[in-house]
């Protein structure tokens, strides 16, 4: 009997919840359980974790029983570039400075948009850098390192 996945959304969500719940539940086993009266650090997370696994399993089973519309296809470009821009900012901001991180973020993120116009992105990066400097450095006086050489 071939099982047909009727709801890709539920299939994926179900697996995701089983995985997350399972990770937390198994992770809890390294801590003491304690008793019902004096609950140890593992008590609550174990209940929640296994609960998530159980419910996740129900969602997973449901995916074979109930029809649902297909999830909208993943567009990799916006996803990867937006996340890349965030990660780049985090990686650069302490060493390269806020302004450098800003420029890298703006241009990387802009690449994730519909149409990438290089001139537009550069102007935007410059304007954003000035705005950021004005608000966070001048107006609020926050202790940000601005450039790699600051």
């Amino acid at each position: 009997m071939a099982l047909k996945i009727r709801s890709m959304k539920d299939f994926s969500a179900g697996l995701m919840f089983i995985a997350i719940g399972g990770l937390f539940a198994m992770g809890a086993s390294q801590y003491p359980m304690g008793t019902a009266v004096r609950m140890g650090p593992a008590y609550f997370p174990s209940i929640l974790g296994w609960g998530t696994v159980a419910l996740g399993f129900m969602v997973f089973v449901e995916s074979f029983l109930v029809d649902d519309e297909k999830p909208t296809p993943v567009k990799w470009r916006p996803l990867l570039l937006v996340i890349a821009s965030v990660m780049a900012f985090a990686a650069i901001v302490n060493t390269g400075g806020l302004i450098t991180a800003t420029v890298v973020l703006i241009i990387t993120a802009a690449l994730g948009g519909h149409e990438f116009k290089l001139k537009e992105a550069i102007i935007s990066a410059v304007l954003m850098s000035i705005t950021v400097w004005a608000i966070f450095d001048k107006a609020l006086g926050l202790p940000f390192k601005l450039f790699p050489w600051s």
Binding site: A13, A36, L55, V59, V66, M87, V132
Partner: protein, 503 residues
């Protein structure tokens, strides 16, 4: 009565200081600015602007946050009327008739009525909080650990039950949220849980990272997936003055909307959405000529907008009196209060009356500001809406990143926000709502603490949750809610399965 006046005068004396007025204005302004941007709702707006409030003392910080909330709601209606894009879920209804009015060149009166209706609702809401706050807080003093635990369970269940989408997936999101909230050092035993040896995690996951990641980045990525065709009503805004007929026709809807919104606001769940939808349905049923709805009927704007603001206002009541957040927005407020060192609960009213009443008074002031100041600024919002999304969104991401960074001056929060962005993107793609997760995240540690305490006091007797009357009552309501929602779903799904297998 005299007590009410005393409380309100204390509140206004705090709210009307130059400093607090300024913060209220900044909050309203920034909230509207970000709220106007399509695809960014109040939760994302508050999440983004939250770090700005960290450096302020508690009272101005909360005043500014409330201002941001109302500003974002107001911005959402503006976008709905001008661009037919709901800035937030409760503005969906405003889109229907509001946008049509815009196309007929009547965007101005639509915006004006939306603002006036919201102001009326806000005033009523403020009075209700002032009247019922103290007695409710007194009731809350009777609460022990068992009651708090059961109340949180009820809050989580109602939030899920009244939300749209798959119930079981929403419950899973709550559980995941609770689990994520537990990450960090356990107060009782001192053991760092799930910290993976990373020192930043031993303090727990910052909720700014979760909020910005799931609501900010996740939404932006989803927005980028869709097309960018927007017909903007900007050239036809014209005069803001509503006609006499407009005002007369709106009066009833505004009053009825306020009443509906007040009721729904106090209940946990997506109060603003249900309030505005119910108001629209009610007005359509009551109208002499229902066919006008959908083509620019002003009642279709007046009612829902008032309902939605009334609900937004009264949804603060459970938070300010009992200390329980009833939705994603309130969850953020709890987070903000905790960061400011204030434990939300009934004791806030007695221990910090100037904070409590000052905030309530300034909610009303914020509503007033939105009517007086933002209406003339419509031109500015309109210009803003003309900027193409591809230019705006990198800036939004940038401010989110700076915000997340500034929490601890560490890139760890930014990395986490990025990870939650990916998680949020896939979760919503697969039909799992992020709101319940945020609620669970904020309540997680609190629930565990109360569960532990209740069990300790009852010496391991788990029936304590049912033997204590208030706690028992709340759990029964929670179970009841679950049953009435699950039953139709089971019947529907059984029917579907039977139908399928009959092929």
């Amino acid at each position: 009565m005299t007590e009410l006046i005393q409380h309100l005068s204390l509140g206004f004396s705090v709210a009307l200081t130059m400093q607090n007025l300024m913060y209220c204005f900044i909050g309203c302004f920034l909230g509207t600015l970000i709220g106007v941007l399509p695809g960014i709702g109040p939760v994302a707006t508050i999440a983004m602007l939250l770090p700005i409030t960290f450096n302020l003392p508690p009272t101005p910080a909360l005043i500014m946050l409330a201002g941001i909330y109302y500003g974002a709601s107001y911005g959402g209606s503006t976008t709905a009327i001008l661009v037919n894009l709901p800035g937030e879920s409760s503005s969906v209804v405003t889109c229907i008739d509001g946008y049509q009015m815009g196309r007929q060149g009547r965007a101005g009166p639509a915006l004006a009525i939306a603002a006036l209706g919201s102001f009326f609702a806000g005033t009523v809401g403020t009075l209700l909080i002032a009247l019922f706050g103290p007695p409710l807080a007194e009731l809350a003093f009777e609460f022990g650990a068992a009651e708090y635990f059961s109340m949180m369970v009820l809050g989580l269940v109602s939030a899920v039950v009244l939300a749209h989408g798959s119930l079981i997936k929403a419950v899973c999101m709550i559980l995941v949220g609770l689990l994520l909230g537990i990450v960090g050092t356990d107060v009782n035993s001192g053991i760092a849980r799930y910290s993976l040896g990373i020192s930043e995690l031993s303090d727990g996951i910052g909720f700014v990272s979760v909020a910005m990641g799931m609501f900010g980045f996740g939404e932006i990525i989803s927005n980028l997936e869709q097309g960018e065709e927007r017909e903007v009503n900007t050239s036809k805004v014209g005069s803001l003055m509503p006609t006499w007929t407009d005002l007369k026709m709106s009066f009833g809807p505004i009053v009825r909307g306020t009443a509906l919104g007040t009721i729904f606001g106090i209940l946990p769940g997506s109060h603003t959405v249900i309030a505005s939808f119910s108001s629209y349905t009610l007005e359509k049923k009551l109208a002499k000529d229902p066919s006008r709805f959908g083509k620019g009927a002003i009642e279709g704007v007046a009612g829902p907008e008032s309902a939605n603001n009334a609900a937004a206002q009264t949804s603060f009541i459970p938070l300010l009196t009992l200390g329980i957040p009833t939705g994603a927005v309130m969850a953020l407020m709890v987070g903000a209060m905790t960061i400011q060192g204030i434990a939300p609960g009934p004791q806030v009213m007695t221990q910090k009356p100037d904070l409590f009443w000052g905030m309530i008074a300034s909610m009303w002031v914020g509503n007033l500001m939105l009517v007086i100041l933002n209406l003339p600024l419509i031109g500015m919002w309109v210009q803003f809406l003309k900027i193409p999304y591809r230019v705006l969104f990198p800036g939004i991401i940038l401010f989110c990143c700076i915000g997340a960074f500034s929490v601890n001056n560490s890139p760890a929060e930014v990395y986490l926000a990025g990870l939650f962005g990916v998680f949020g993107y896939f979760a919503s793609k697969w039909g799992c709502e992020p709101g319940p997760l945020l609620l669970g995240f904020v309540l997680g540690p609190l629930m565990e603490e109360n569960l532990r305490r209740a069990m300790l006091i009852s010496r391991g007797d788990a029936t304590v949750f049912f033997t204590r009357p208030i706690s028992c009552g709340m759990l029964i309501v929670a179970i009841f809610l679950l049953i009435i929602i699950v039953l139709p779903q089971i019947r529907k799904k059984r029917a579907e399965v039977v139908y399928e297998s009959a092929d």
